[in-house]
Amino acid sequence: MIKAFIILFPIFVSFATDIQRDTLDNGLVILTVEAHRIPVVEMRAYVRAGSVLDPSGKEGLANLTGQCLIRGTGQYSYGELVESIESVGGEFTPFVTEDYAGFNGKVLSKDLGRLIDILESCLQHPEFDSLELLRLKRETISLIKVRSDNPFEVSEKGFRSLLFGDHPLGHFPEGIESSVAAITAPEARDFYDTYYRPNNTFLIFVGDFIKDSLLMMLRSHFELWKRQEMPKLEFVEPAPIDRSKAKVIPMDISQAYILLGNFGPRYGEADWNAARVMNYVLGGAGLTSRISGTIREEKGLAYIAYSSFRRFINGGYFAAEVQTKKEMVNEAVTALIQEMEKIRDTIHVEEVARAKKFYTGYLPLAYDTYGEMASIIASIEIDDLGLDYLSRFEDYIRALTISDLQTAAKKYLHPERFYLLIVGDVDPEDIALDKIDWVQ
């Protein structure tokens, strides 16, 4: 056994740490990991053109722009474009999040040239045909409606809006019905011209290719893409929470969907590892976490009970989440607050030891497929962690002390001032919480 491990380990380490980062003259960053398990290449393209850049009143602009990139380019119609990739069994899907827009792609390695050709066409020569945009708007508005029937979506959306208000993180990338309806093709074109630039983009390739030939191909497709300085945007920070606020969004469902939290770390925060290991103990570890232990295992109040951090470039938040019968809302909310209080006071040596063992032991599982590897590379790039991060990760985790975790708990968990959002058929009068303002 030991022998087999020693023989295999170096192969693995080379997959793990051999992330290469190249930059073209125009600023386009290319991250690659060669791997030859199966004849497949996974691709990710990230342009910093997410929904936080939506101008006020144009919520949904970044999303429509990103989605429109495949709806016809200078070279290909929408039909030709998707046919080209899908006829060989490939996948090519646009995505738009709060921070980034881009594409996820996957092809058999023999079709890599085809994928890059399509990528170039979409990133550099989109058309923004007004009829295509009209179609996209209709589809988007229908999707917003579909999501308004899903209590998970309604609660997250409501919580984000309560927390961030008018800050761009206060809305989802898809936007709101009225703003989406008003967006025009020239506006999408302008947004594209401003943000879709090589110096604002990074590409990731993982899988079965030879790096030098890939780079040569990418150079010929992307070196003429013109760089341009990005506008400097200042966001007005949302007001810190000085007093707890709560809101009920009525919905005719058999449970209450509860979210409770406060602002949290954004990308690049130095105490991120401490914060996430602390949250692992509190509510991130599945059934063995404290929140799940109390609310699910001990009290049987809920199927889902956990806590998490959501991080973005311009902000972040912590939220504890439970879905329970409406009669049990009080008990569940009280339990969440108590767990936050407790972890600020005490974190046990065994809990930290277990969390550390998990994080260090789990590392190879976190990127054992091409797709997972591509995702990890993206987070290394976004978080600016350095290409050798994976080889240093275990040291970071081992170095954490109880005091680090407690400092993070005190910084990010605020059981005395928080925002609480409840979706369901719940009357605020039935919730016995002191020092809280109910908002409409």
Binding site: F15, P39, V40, S87, S142, D149, A285, G300, T360, Y362
Partner: protein
């Protein structure tokens, strides 16, 4: 055609080592040494299909209780042990199987074998643990009820099958959950969890010889008692069935179910091809025709499921704003009629085949996924070898097959249609 040949050229058969212990435990090993990780999975031949009337959901409830401790390990100790080993563990219940698995570094996967042997033989299912856990499962049931699409599909299954257990929801009916006792669950455990009713799959960085020793060490002494399979059949549907489900939703939706064939039937390959042609990717027919050109649908998805004792072709559709469900339904039938009356092109057929084959190759990037697939095929009675037969079978599908199969199964008399509509105007 050129593209198709190339996709097939990328397809290499997989190798699986298989054997059976004296107690009937089947063991399947798929080697992949790319990363030092092993997915250890145990698949039991028990799920909602096998459940007696009045105790629906009992297999899933048992799966929950299977994390609540054995004679040797207290509640949640299993989770803690795997967690400390840096592993990921989970369990799931489906129509025909219950699966437990853990992905661990390959120097420690024996832990999971040891824990699964313990779970197979020594579960306690204490009354103190049973009461809150049943409440948790009832909350899980409520979560599903609050999701309009889950409710629609649940109702669709109920209407499509009249007496066959495929009609029952995997999570069970609420009154059945209420009535199920600790003893019911314990008896269900004793009846179904033993080596002769299970398949172990080890996928990843495994030394097969060493693995054999471990499996024998941990499972060899557990007695195997074969569990009789149960065969139910659904009488052929003779005429369309329709229903309306009212929920407090903003967005109406439509679901259609066509009975098809069990997993050992030749027609399943053409049905897979049809599903891809209709709804896989942006270039699929429903997307291009109904979503984009006509602007009638927001999304139309199809799903073809083959199980051991029956199969079905499910279609889910969401209309765009101001389009009524009747119009959407008619337009869907127009697309299906087109498939029956006009031959598809060579290139469209080649694309569908390429997609089906590529998906099979993509799956090989993950030992966990390929292990789950192997286990599923074994339980469904098709055997892991069908992974290797799949490309040839898909390649054999021709233009006439697609038309003939569409004509045979996608008929009015063979379908059940459900409308999800808002209870009130908001």
């Amino acid at each position: 055609m050129l593209n198709l040949l190339l996709a097939i050229a990328c397809f290499q058969p997989i190798e699986v080592i298989e054997y059976e212990l004296d107690n009937g435990l089947r063991v399947l090993i798929y080697e992949d040494h790319f990363v030092p990780v092993v997915s250890t999975q145990i698949h039991y031949r028990v799920g909602s299909y096998y459940e007696p009337k009045g105790l629906t959901g009992i297999s899933h409830l048992l799966e929950h209780m299977a994390f609540k401790g054995t004679e040797k390990h207290g509640p949640k100790e299993y989770n803690k042990i795997i967690e400390e080993a840096g592993g990921y563990e989970n369990g799931y219940t489906s129509v025909d199987r219950t699966v437990y698995y853990a992905n661990l570094r390959s120097d420690r996967y024996e832990l999971e074998l040891e824990m699964e042997a313990d779970r197979m033989h020594n579960l306690v299912i204490s009354p103190e643990e049973f009461v809150p856990e049943k409440a948790v499962v009832m909350e899980e049931k409520r979560l599903r009820e609050n999701d309009p699409f889950s409710s629609l599909v649940e109702q669709l299954d109920l209407m499509s099958y009249t007496c066959h257990p495929y009609r029952n929801p995997i999570i069970g009916f609420m009154p059945d959950l209420e009535r199920t006792t600790r003893d019911d669950v314990y008896n269900w455990y004793r009846r179904n969890y033993n080596p002769a009713n299970a398949v172990i799959v080890l996928a990843g960085d495994v030394d097969p010889e060493e693995a054999r020793g471990m499996v024998i060490k941990h499972f060899g002494s557990i007695k195997g008692v074969p569990v009789d399979d149960m065969v139910y059949s659904e009488p052929p549907q003779r005429g369309e069935r329709r229903f309306v489900l009212k929920k407090p939703v903003n967005q109406p939706a439509l679901a259609i179910y066509y009975h098809t064939v069990p997993s050992d039937h030749e027609d399943m390959y053409a049905l897979d091809v049809i599903s891809v042609i209709l709804s896989s990717g942006y270039s699929a027919r429903f997307e291009q025709d109904l979503v984009r050109d006509k602007g009638i649908a927001t999304a139309v998805s199809t799903y073809h499921q083959n199980l051991k004792y029956g199969g079905g072709f499910t279609l889910l559709a969401i209309p765009q704003q101001d389009i009524d469900l009747g119009t959407l339904e008619e337009e869907i039938y127009r697309v299906l009629e087109n498939l029956k009356s006009a031959p598809i092109s060579e290139s469209e057929l080649a694309k569908a085949k390429n997609k089906a084959l590529a998906q099979d190759i993509y799956r090989r990037d993950s030992p966990e996924r390929i292990g789950a697939h192997i286990g599923q095929l074994e339980i469904a009675g098709r055997g892991w070898e069908s992974i290797n037969e799949y490309p040839a079978s898909i390649q054999k599908v021709n233009i006439e097959d697609v038309m003939a199969v569409a004509q045979k199964y996608l008929t009015q008399d063979n379908r059940t249609v459900g409308y999800l509509v808002p209870t009130e105007v908001k």
